[in-house]
Amino acid sequence: MNGILVILVLLALGYAFGSGAERRHYKSILEREEALRRVMVFSARVPPDLHRWRESRLVSGSVCVSADYFKAFVAGLRGLVGGRVTSYEGLLDRARREAVLRMKEEAQRLGPCKIFNVKIETASISKGGENALGTVEVLAYGTAVAD
């Protein structure tokens, strides 16, 4: 009985904090994406009109996020019946966009530029842990080129 109570409290805490944080994070992501719209990113391996650019530099951005208890619990239930684990989709979406944003912020310090050959990598850094997802790191990197 006590165990169930603890789980319910953790679920409520996870939901309250997790969904609040998600809302705030999306708001900040949208604002910063708007502010950094000038910095464009491409996954092309070689920039077109190569001769145009003079400067090039490796830039990267990374973020390490964890699911809240509520998300992990729902994902655990989902693991029993199968199907789309929607509770983690938002988490990974935010993590990727955050990593790309941080990479853009680093690139912007160079002045007006574009980022080519962008790679996005997701790694779980809680191997062997109880929950499969736990903590993930997302790294985005590419080469910023400027005139």
């Binding site: 996870g14 391996r45 850094i125």
Partner: protein, 107 residues
């Protein structure tokens, strides 16, 4: 040392290919951070301590790769790639690799 994950460098010309250089580091998060991360696992959100730790470690991996490149007398590393893998509970390997080259200004 010029680092890029492109295969070419705008405005420059590769005059010498010096082969693969790599840098790697394995880092464990310490217990204090782990406990904080455990608490954070209830609330969710970004684990700032981990982000910083991994970023630092990645910089160290890059430094090691650059050290190899310098030993080869290279002045740039092209086609840089990163990889992160969790090798054990609480420890992660950060790995960076690329091709060491000597560049000259294009005519």
């Amino acid at each position: 040392m010029l680092l890029t994950n492109l295969e070419v460098v705008p405005g420059r010309r590769v005059v010498e290919h010096l082969g693969l250089v790599q840098g790697s580091t394995v880092r464990a998060k310490h217990a204090g951070k782990d406990i904080l991360a455990g608490i954070k696992n209830v609330f969710g959100g970004e684990l700032r301590a981990y982000t910083d730790l991994l970023q630092e470690s990645r910089e160290e991996a890059i430094e090691r790769m650059v050290a190899q490149a310098q030993a080869l007398n290279a002045n740039a590393v092209l086609n840089v790639r990163f990889s992160t893998s969790s090798v054990a509970q609480g420890a992660a390997e950060l790995f960076a690799y690329g091709t060491a080259v000597r560049l000259e200004d294009a005519p």
